[in-house]
């Protein structure tokens, strides 16, 4: 009898623990195993990526469609190369897709916003977004500096 209660309560305890783990995996982390989601990689060059981080969001029309998986600096050209993992099959983004680095929320998290173009051709795995369609991060200090010099000149 006593062993029975012990067995039952241990069983319930282990089950509760397992359920808690499943809950943490599903409800809290939303199972974001970004590795095996398929998807493909596109790259883009920006003149400034201040505030962008690894795993920042990549969105289109406000919907998250991927994540930043790499940020490197190109010393020769003096710009930054951002690698993005886009979910789903390749062929969804036109060749003239634009990319902007925008700010979200009051905490100022930066993300990449993709703007669809009209070209019939699409970006393939590993392609670069054309440089004339990228727009780097908006840095307030630079802008203020710009205004001050212009005011000074006029």
């Amino acid at each position: 009898m006593q062993m029975r209660t012990i067995e039952i309560s241990v069983g319930a305890f282990v089950l509760a623990g397992m359920l808690a783990l499943v809950f943490l995996a599903v409800k809290v982390s939303g199972i974001s195993l970004s590795e095996d989601r398929g998807g493909y990689i596109i790259k883009a060059r920006f003149d400034d990526v201040s505030g962008l981080r690894l795993r920042s969001k990549v969105t289109m029309a406000g919907v998250t469609i991927g994540r930043v998986s790499g940020i490197d600096v190109d010393m020769l050209r003096g710009d930054a190369e951002v690698t993005m993992e886009i979910d789903g099959e390749e062929g969804g983004l036109t060749l003239d897709t634009g990319a902007k680095i925008l700010t979200e929320g009051v905490l100022g998290a930066r993300y990449v916003s993709l703007v669809p173009g009209a070209d019939p051709d699409t970006l393939r795995d590993g392609d670069y977004i054309l440089d004339e369609f990228t727009q780097g991060a908006f840095v307030l200090e630079n802008l203020i500096g710009d205004i001050v010099t212009r005011l000074g000149a006029s």
Binding site: V10, K27, S32
Partner: protein, 259 residues
Amino acid sequence: MIRFMRSVGAQALERLASLGRATVMWGTAMWGLPGPGDFTLMLKQIYHVGVLSLIIIVLSAFSIGAVIALQFHTQLSRFGAEDAVGLGLALTLLRELGPVVTALLFAGRAGSAITAEIGLMKATEQLSSMEMMGVDPLHRIVAPRLWAGIISMPLLTAVFNVVAIYGGVIVAVEWLGSDPGAFWSGMRDAVELWEDVGKGMLKSVAFAVVVTWIAVFQGYDTEPTAEGIGLATTRTVVISSVVVLAMDFLLTLSMYGDF
């Protein structure tokens, strides 16, 4: 002066020797896989160590979750960033507070009990009579407790995290009126399965090994007197807590620190 050096040396040797005894004990106890008869013993220990710790875990988790949510909410609402409460709460719990607080509570609730129990067995010469009967106390007494601790603590940590998150939900969403959608989606966006949940659980397993090891060894190595058992129980709690906190820093450094 010489006497002082001698006492330091004796202390150091004694510490080293007890570390050696602890390692030998742990090694021999963990070596033999539990047989079918040991399973019942282990079940009993999981009951004592895990099930009976549930109440204190649930109560503490609820209060801690509620307090964190309250703190985050009051601070973040000054910047109008209440949406980040869920994210902050979940990351704090999964990465740090869940494993650490569970380990500390576990050391106080279950570790001390294990030490006292084994210490008393030693004082009343139950251990030596077992040896006399040809039963290895390491396998009969020590191993089930070690395994029970290692199995129970990660489960307790998972329960702790879930209860604490709900404690936070009750404060932030139900009471202070954060938006539930933003609360959960912010949490889901930031929390990664392996990076946060997995590594937190890994920490908890590491703490489980160390805390149960310390508890069992202190009992096994105690001075077989009433005073000795008291001291050993105190030492279990003190050493476990200090080691858990120090280990937490090292684990965090190796898991999340990029250097």
